[in-house]
């Protein structure tokens, strides 16, 4: 009797294990089908000419240069804006003793903002940055909008990283007569840095793939020039891909596939950098 119930429990365990394995592979499998499909369509179109040409009416001549450089511009500016603001906010919320309800209020708002759909940020960007502040459909307006979008993610990731720093490190720094700033600067931030950077880069890769808010603020879909300054109009990879994919000609769908490969490579490179930074910083600490 006893044995039978034990066997039953083992059976349930095995079934659960199999279900988990199956569902994990299902996700991976779908991803591989996608990758396979995209590469089969796009690889043939992927060459230097594709990387070095502007969009064109003719699929043979179409290239991704303006979108790729637009993405680089946008991400550089987004990083410049969002990293200092996000990390500073995280330090304020995590390292300084809580006064009043204000920081609690900020915390709740940040958690909520992380869940706001990106199109809403687009509307906000359109009203505030494009129209009210008069930046037009420029890289600056796009970067500010993107910064708003990823700030909650950066703040939450940076707070997690700061929270993971053992309290004992802060205490021993304080006990040596360090001021708050000296403690944060020399002991807490170096330990939290790998975590913060990983969070930042993951947030930035989200910004790379984001389309909706940029369409909302009016990033152009057909850009036959390279942006030369922060006030220039621009396009980015996902918008260009969307544009090609919505054309009726079959060749353009294949061009879109090639664009997707470029986008994926950019994302993989950013994740690679995140992994590399984390290893580098962790080795330096040991």
């Amino acid at each position: 009797m006893k044995n039978q119930s034990l066997r039953q429990r083992y059976a349930i365990g095995r079934i659960f294990h199999l279900v988990c394995v199956g569902l994990t592979w299902l996700g991976v499998f779908v991803l591989f089908i996608l990758l396979f499909h995209v590469s089969r369509e796009g690889v043939a179109w992927l060459d230097l000419q594709f990387l070095d040409s502007f969009p064109s009416r003719f699929p043979q001549k179409a290239g991704i240069k303006s979108a790729l450089l637009g993405t680089v511009w946008l991400i550089s500016f987004t990083a410049t804006i969002s990293i200092p603001v996000g990390v500073a906010a995280a330090i304020y919320l995590e390292e300084y003793p809580k006064r009043s309800g204000i920081s609690h209020f900020i915390e709740i708002n940040i958690a909520n903002l992380a869940g706001v759909p990106s199109i809403v940020y687009g509307i906000l960007g359109l009203v505030i940055f494009v129209r009210f502040m008069g930046f037009g459909r420029s890289i600056v307006a796009g970067s500010l909008t993107m910064s708003l979008l990823i700030l909650p993610v950066i703040i939450i990731a940076a707070r997690e990283a700061l929270r993971a720093v053992p309290t004992s490190i802060r205490q021993s720094a304080f006990a040596l007569g360090a001021t708050h700033w000296q403690t944060i600067r020399s002991q807490v931030l170096p330990v939290a840095l790998p975590g913060i950077l990983t969070g930042v880069i993951l947030a930035l890769s989200r910004a790379v793939g984001e389309t909706a808010p940029l369409i909302m603020i009016g990033a152009l879909t057909y850009v036959a020039f390279v942006p030369e300054g922060p006030m220039d109009p621009f396009t980015v990879l996902p918008i260009q891909i969307f544009n090609w994919a919505s054309r009726p000609q079959d060749e353009f769908h294949q061009v879109a596939a090639a664009g997707i490969i470029v986008l994926l490579v950019v994302l993989l490179m950013m994740n690679g950098v995140a992994i590399w930074i984390r290893h580098w910083a962790e080795r330096r600490q040991r």
């Binding site: 053992p166 490190i169 205490q171 720094a173 006990a175």
Partner: protein, 263 residues
């Protein structure tokens, strides 16, 4: 200055008093952890604070260098005088207090940096302009760690053994050249040999520094300290010469505790 305390044994202290607590009450969110305690700590002696868990030993110790400031809702009434100056007066900068009164924690907590940087950081952030190398070497000598680490100063402090890490933490505190060193159960995470190392070290250190040590280990208190404070439920039960407290305690509760009948 002689502070009147409920306990007559204080009067027998003839060493100079460096730290005095006068009617100190410390409460967390209104609950007192230390209740109207008065105490005088003699200079260049080792004073042990003993008592059952939760009696307020650590709270008391941390009030001496204002480490309680970081705990929210903590409130201190009464006065703590360091060389006659009230540590809690509004003119005193808590950072300055911690420069003069160092602390060693229960668990060895070196910074995740090199051995050298661990010791050098304190002086360097406090505007020390002399040779950091000399200061580091001197502090490591004082902590009897120099011979073990002199060839690997640039290695990570985390590669040291637990006992070495704790001596490094002591060296780190010594590098600030404090007057008083507070030790919060410094040996509770260490093996007996490392514990013996640290106890030997304390005898050397007391020539130059005043040491206040919180300990759970009665034998340790009896071995290393000159004076013993026995706390229970946040109240000072007995304070006096260690030998007397352990062999001829005045209070019944003290006798019961030091003979291991409770706690």
């Amino acid at each position: 200055m002689i502070i009147e305390t409920p306990n007559s044994s204080v009067g027998k202290l003839n060493a100079q008093e460096i730290l005095q607590a006068i009617n100190v009450t410390i409460s967390y969110s209104g609950n007192p952890a230390i209740d109207n305690l008065s105490l005088s700590v003699p200079e260049h002696q080792i004073t042990a604070v003993i008592g059952p868990s939760g009696c307020g030993k650590s709270t008391l110790l941390r009030s001496f260098n204002r480490m309680n400031d970081f705990i929210p809702d903590v409130e201190l009434k009464g006065r703590i005088l360091y060389m006659g100056e009230d540590l809690y007066s509004s003119e005193i900068d808590p950072v300055e207090v911690r420069r003069r009164i160092g602390m060693v924690f229960q668990k060895p907590n070196p910074f995740p940096k090199s051995i050298f940087q661990n010791v050098a950081w304190g002086p360097s952030i406090n505007g020390y302009t002399g040779s950091l190398e000399e200061r580091v070497e001197k502090s490591l000598h004082q902590a009897v760690l120099w011979d073990e680490v002199k060839d690997r100063l640039q290695d990570s402090a985390l590669e040291l053994s637990g006992g070495q890490q704790q001596r490094l933490c002591i060296a780190r505190a010594l590098a600030m050249e404090p007057e008083i060193i507070l030790m919060d159960e410094p040996c509770s995470a260490l093996d007996p040999i490392s514990t013996a190392h640290i106890e030997d070290l304390m005898f050397e250190l007391k020539l130059r520094y005043t040491i206040i040590i919180v300990t759970h280990n009665m034998q340790q208190a009896a071995r290393v300290s000159d004076f013993t404070v026995f706390l229970e439920n946040g109240r000072l039960v007995e304070f006096g010469n260690t030998q007397e407290v352990f062999t001829r305690p005045k209070e019944k509760r003290t006798e019961e505790y030091v003979t291991g009948r409770f706690g």
